[in-house]
Every structure is written in structure tokens, then in C-alpha cells.
Symmetry: C2
Subunit: 353 residues, 2 copies
């Protein structure tokens, strides 16, 4: 039995998309689970009334499984992330606080991503020695999907942080994608260990001594294939600057490319768009903030009801698989880099760059 809190006020199409998404999710989920709509009660109730009297009348039975949690304040998309820290009555802060108080098991928001990161870090706290959570996103590939992290939370990363991402990403791949002993690739500009920038070269050294199933360096071209010449990849580790650029490039490129190709080939584009649906990020239900002590799922700001529904389902899977607990344990069990033989080699790699 899980209770999923949803930021009812978050996202470009809230509260309509959030309330509708919650109703759709409940219909799909086992009846033991419930959704908590966090936000302005009157706004949420009006939206519920309108939807259930109209297009979603067939979901009326789900209303009883919805709890409304009053939060009179909203952090807007355009506000600074830190604004949330001074706004305890915002739907974002209130929704996350439910987990701290043991009243909820997960939080989902399509609102201000920076604010969600700040509030999740501050209220839920982080595992181990992490300084910030990482965002894990799933890239569709020609093979199986690949987890890419960090996708935007950490722009300037140390080699040690990249190793933490590798450990965290491995748990994500195991718990939510069902991979056994996931293969971890380090994103670089050549497969040889000596290729890359200074941080990546050091990270390569550390990863080889990490006890993880380290695939070695992977290149940009390996991601769409979900594999390098050496075999399949489950996780791609990179700093949040590169990861964010790649993620946004991918999201925008797919429809553009398909439009160009359809035009060139004289093919009906609607047919292609239909086929393209499984590449749509909304189908993957959002990106978890990895490393927080709890579950906090980031949904796209433009989330449709369908995307919100998928994010809620995804949150439930994160809860049921105990991903956060596993991440905590994995980080705690990790050998401290400075105490292994790694340190010497790292210094060597750094001075040799």
C-alpha cells in the first residue's frame, strides 16, 4: 500500500492535467494505493467537480481514493529555486514534507524543477556524502533504454561525484529497469581511458577500481545504439552540463528529424508521429531525483494527464522496489576512494593530463 503525493499546482497545464492524471492513475493502480493532491483545496475541488461531471465521468469511482492536502501557496515556474525554502505553505514544500512526517511515500511534481531539487534536498536530506541529488533520465535506444545521469542537477562535477552517479545509476537500472549487474559507461570522446577531459580521465581510473561492472568510456554515438562495440550499456555517467545538453537535444531532435524526413519522403507525418510515441519522454513518467532519502519524481513542465499518470505509476515502482534504501546502502558500502589503491593512480592521471 503506497501513498503518492502529487503537486496539484505544478506544471504548465495544472491543475487540470494533474487532477486528471491522478484520476487516470488511480484507475490503473491496485486499489490499495492512494494519491494525495497537494494544493489549494477549492481549486482542486472545482477541477475535480468539472472533470467528473464532464469528460472523466467514468472515473468517478476513483474520487474516494483521492486525498486533498491543503497548501495555499504556489512556487511559480519563473521563481528562483531557493524561493521554495521560504515558502513552507507551497504545494511543493508541503507535498515533500508529507514524506518527512511519515504521511506519504513519494512525491511527484511537474512544477519548478530547481525548487523541487532544493526542497527535496533540504527536507528529505541526502544519502551518504552526496552534496546534491542527481537527475536520472531514460534515453530510448535501438536496444533497451539507457539511464543517463546526471541530467542537469550538477554542472561542475568532481571525479568522485561521477563515481557516485555510477553507483546510484546502477541501483536505478536494477530496481526500475530490471537489469542485472548493470553495465556502466563513462561518457567521453573516445573509448581509450586516456581520452576525455581532466575530470573524466580521473573518473575512469576510479571507476576501474570501484567494484562496479564498469564498461569503460563510451562515446556519444554509443547512446543511440544502447551499446558500444564491447556490448550493451545500461547506464551512462556524465556531468549534469553534458547530460542536460544531450537530453534537451534528444527531446527536440526526434520530432524535428522526423518532420524533415517525412517531408523529404512525402510520407504522412501523422503516421510517423504515431510510431514515434514510444520515444516520447512522457511515456517514461518522469525523472527521479536520485540520492534523496525518499522518492521525488520530476515530471516535464508540459506534462499531459497521461504523463502525470505515468509519473505516478513510476513513483509507485520506485517506492515498491525500495530504490532509495538500496541507493543509501550502496553508497554506504562503497569503498572510500582515498583509502584504496586508487588515490595514487588518480594523482598520476591528473598530473599526466
Amino acid at each position: 500500500m503506497a501513498r503518492i503525493a502529487l503537486d496539484a499546482m505544478g506544471g504548465d497545464f495544472a491543475p487540470r492535467a494533474t487532477v486528471a492524471g491522478a484520476l487516470h492513475a488511480l484507475q490503473e493502480l491496485d486499489s490499495a494505493h492512494s494519491v494525495q493532491l497537494v494544493g489549494r483545496t477549492s481549486v482542486i475541488e472545482d477541477e475535480l467537480d468539472a472533470l467528473l461531471a464532464g469528460e472523466l465521468a467514468m472515473l468517478a469511482a476513483q474520487r474516494a481514493r483521492l486525498e486533498i492536502v491543503e497548501a495555499p501557496d504556489v512556487v511559480e515556474m519563473s521563481e528562483k529555486p531557493t524561493a521554495v525554502l521560504k515558502r513552507p505553505a507551497s504545494s511543493m514544500a508541503a507535498g515533500i514534507r508529507l514524506q518527512v512526517e511519515g504521511r506519504s511515500d513519494a512525491f511527484v511534481s511537474a512544477g519548478n524543477t530547481g525548487a523541487q531539487m532544493a526542497a527535496s534536498t533540504m527536507l528529505l536530506k541526502l544519502h551518504g556524502t552526496l552534496k546534491r541529488p542527481a537527475i536520472g533520465t531514460v534515453f530510448p535506444t535501438a536496444r533497451e533504454p539507457v539511464v543517463v545521469l546526471d541530467s542537469g542537477a550538477n554542472v561542475d562535477c568532481s571525479p568522485e561525484e561521477l563515481v557516485s552517479f555510477a553507483r546510484i545509476g546502477a541501483v536505478y537500472a536494477e530496481d526500475l529497469l530490471g537489469r542485472k549487474n548493470p553495465s556502466i559507461g563513462l561518457l567521453s570522446i573516445g573509448e581509450e581511458p586516456e581520452k576525455g577531459n581532466a575530470v573524466v580521465k580521473e573518473a575512469n581510473q576510479l571507476l576501474r577500481e570501484s567494484g562496479l561492472n564498469f564498461h569503460g568510456n563510451v562515446e556519444g554515438r554509443d547512446i543511440p545504439h544502447g551499446a558500444s562495440d564491447l556490448g550493451p550499456i545500461d547506464v551512462v555517467v556524465c556531468d549534469g552540463f553534458v547530460g542536460n545538453v544531450l537530453l534537451k537535444f534528444y527531446e527536440a531532435l526526434a520530432p524535428v528529424l522526423i518532420g524533415m524526413v517525412a517531408k523529404g519522403a512525402g510520407i504522412d507525418q501523422t503516421k510517423l508521429v504515431e510510431a514515434f510515441k514510444h520515444l516520447d519522454y512522457s511515456e517514461h513518467g518522469g525523472a527521479p531525483l536520485l540520492g534523496v532519502r525518499g522518492v521525488s519524481i520530476i515530471s516535464h513542465g508540459k506534462s499531459s494527464p497521461r504523463a502525470i499518470k505515468n509519473a505516478i505509476t513510476f513513483a509507485l515502482r520506485a517506492v515498491e522496489s525500495r530504490m532509495s534504501e538500496h541507493i543509501g546502502r550502496r553508497l554506504a558500502d562503497a569503498p572510500a576512494p582515498a583509502m584504496t589503491g586508487g588515490a595514487g593512480s588518480v594523482n598520476k592521471a591528473a598530473s599526466g593530463q
Copy 2:
């Protein structure tokens, strides 16, 4: 009248693809221009004989416009870039040296890219205070193509180097893409100047004071559109790590995506592949090494005769537009960052990150 030197031994399909590409190029180019095939004379002559006696018999008239320049040695793809510096008799070194001696106007190779960079830097020298050349590649977009640099020559860049890339890229866009007052975007993870990693934040400051037509920060999603919400982009500036990852991701993603979509939509894939041709990098004829005093064009290792032909045509356009001379002048005219009001703001930006 231009003389284009081609590394006849460079590339996975050399010397067949290189010799054939040279013949095709000459047929297309004005008769005043010539091509110099640099490599093992006997190998080149055998290849020429075979092609002209067979499938390329219709190009026999072009043979007279081909000069063979003997170079008995070859730098292999798998060798270290610096190997070329000790191999003056290699086709790579000999081909580039022709420009130094005033016997040629440009050099094209599909061989070892690192070696080409090293030899071009050493023999041709660089403009201004550049430490390394930058690789400029052209990304097809929904609008006009966009120049992305650096695409792999410089992995750890200073903010000042990113500004140099902006100046160089502007000349490339003017001279080879015909753009007037090109709009320069700085690749980051948000359009606000304060978004990005430490180097990018400083570069944003410097670019605003550079006198260039600075568009501001652009995101990964703006590249496929060839524009941000503010309008079209002609040049995207980034370090060579990010640029190389993006380039390889794009090259690999396009066919994978199209394969997936064709399968999903039950569309004949050959029709899509045909339509996709204008996205093919070989159509763009290679990437110039920007910043060298001369013309050195990198072709893909897997270059077909068609790709080699396009690279030769591209080299000719670089020669005729006097791009290298313009880059030298632009870098010489640039205000030194330390002497403008920029320095103070930069320190502020750096400490505030």
C-alpha cells in the same frame, strides 16, 4: 585557380575512395583548378588505371588535372597523433607541407584526425594567440544549418578560448554559409546568463562585451530548431568535449531513430533512408580545422568517393573565400579581454558561481 592537396592514403576506403573522389571533384570544378594526390605513386597510379579502365572510364579526361606527389610513408588510423611529427615522408605531413612551400592552397584528409591536427598546427602554425585549432562542424537543423565548434579538438577550454571560437565560427558562417552578421549562441543549460558551469558563465560575460552579435545562451533543444525563442542561431559555441559528444550522438541517432520509426510505422525504410540523405554529414564535405594559417579539411574516416568529392569542393570554397585570412584578421582585431571592463565582471561572475 586553386590547387587542392588530397591525402590519397587516408581513410578506411583509401586509396580507391580518395582517387575516385578526386576524379569526380575535378569533373565538377572549373578547369582552372587541380588536385594533388599525395601518397605512394605506384599505388595511386594502379588505382587510377583500374578506375579509368573500368567504372570511371567516363572521367578519363580529368587525369591530366591530377598531380601525383610522392610520399612513401603512411600514418595509420591507430597510431598516436604525434607519430606524424616524426614522419615527414608520410602523406599527411607531405600534403600539408605543400601549403607551407607555396605549392598548394588546401589540404584534405580522411585519415588519422589527431595526426592531421598535430601536423596542421605544427606546419601551418596558428593565427593570433590560439593554442590549438578548433573543429567546426555543420549540424543540419529544421531551419538552416548551424556551425558547432569546437567539435573535438579542445576538451578543457578557458572562457577566453570559447570567445575565440565565437570569433572564428562567425567567420566560418560568413564565408562558407553566407550568413551576414552571424548570431552566436553559447551552449548552456538555460538561457539566463547565470546558468551553466563556471567556464560558461564567465564566457557569457566576455561574449556580451565582445562586439560580436551575441545571441546569449542557447540550450540543447535550440540546436535541432536552428533557433531559440529569440530567433535564428548561426553558430553554437561549446568546448570540444560537449561538441564531440553531441556530434557523435547526432550522427548515430539520426539513422537509429529513423529505423525505429520506420519499423513502428510499417514504412519502407529505404524510402526514409533516401529522404535522410540531406542529413548525412558526408554531404557537407568535412569539417575545417579552424585557426590554422591555411586550409586543412578533416573528412570522415569512412568517406565515400562522394564525401571526398564534397570535401574537395568545400576546401576550394574555403580557399576562394579567404576564410583563413579573415580569421587571422578577426582575431588580431579583437579587443584583449583583460584590457576591457570585462575583467572585473568576470571575476565577479566566477566568485558568484
